[in-house]
């Protein structure tokens, strides 16, 4: 189970979300939206100085992330041909469904995620309604919420795996 990428898959998802968050912050700081009085809007993206360096750093991180991610998937699929990770299915790859025990653990983890969203989404909606939060921070909030679900799922599965 130690080399099973399905266990660490939520962490990869979280890393992907944090990379996207980096781009959101970059766009948030480097872009200007102009609304015109006769309708429509203009989107200006200015890369210079620090934001240019940051963009290059982000691109390197994305490149490294994708290489490591697909390399690990390849290794996992070679090690565990019966539990392959496939990018062509809608089913989340982190689900463990080897037998009824694993299905039960997956059910427990997804129940926790469901409970998390049942509380977090209304709270977030109220916060967004009441506080003057900009688009960028709203998007960051949504991304943090998404990262939170993977963290909850990972912690539950990890607890089970360490007790095996």
């Amino acid at each position: 189970m130690k080399n099973d990428m399905r266990i660490t898959y939520p962490l990869w998802q979280m890393a992907g979300i944090f990379i996207i968050m980096g781009f959101v912050l970059l766009v948030g700081y480097a872009a200007t939206v102009n609304t015109f009085s006769d309708g429509g809007f203009g989107f200006e993206f200015s890369i210079s100085g620090n934001s240019g360096i940051l963009l290059n750093v982000m691109m390197v991180i994305v490149f490294l992330y994708l290489i490591l991610f697909f390399y690990n998937i390849k290794k996992h699929n070679e090690r565990m041909p019966k539990q392959k990770i496939s990018m062509t299915t809608y089913k989340p790859q982190e689900y463990l469904e080897d037998d009824e025990l694993f299905q039960d653990v997956t059910k427990q983890a997804t129940k926790k995620v469901y409970t998390y969203f049942a509380w977090a989404l209304p709270i977030m909606a109220v916060v967004y309604l009441m506080l003057p939060i900009g688009k960028m921070w709203m998007t960051v909030g949504v991304l943090l919420l998404a990262a939170g679900q993977y963290w909850i799922y990972y912690r539950t599965i990890k607890k089970f795996i360490s007790s095996v």
Binding site: M1, D98, D99, E100, L101, F102, D104, V164
Partner: protein, 71 residues
Amino acid sequence: MLKNRLKELRARYSFTQIELAKQVGVTRQTIGFIEKGEFSPSVTLSLKLAKALDCDINEIFWLEGEEEHEE
């Protein structure tokens, strides 16, 4: 709570957890969790275990408080 004597019956046939797991089509971890009482198997799996251990399902599993098994 569901109690069991799976470990005892498995030992009778000198099965390892892996061997029994293979026979009934589950993972070794599932057998371990059932033996520890941390997982209640489905009726299907219980019947498969009973068949693999050549005994009645009631000999493997019983509900906590049932005197005949607890004695």
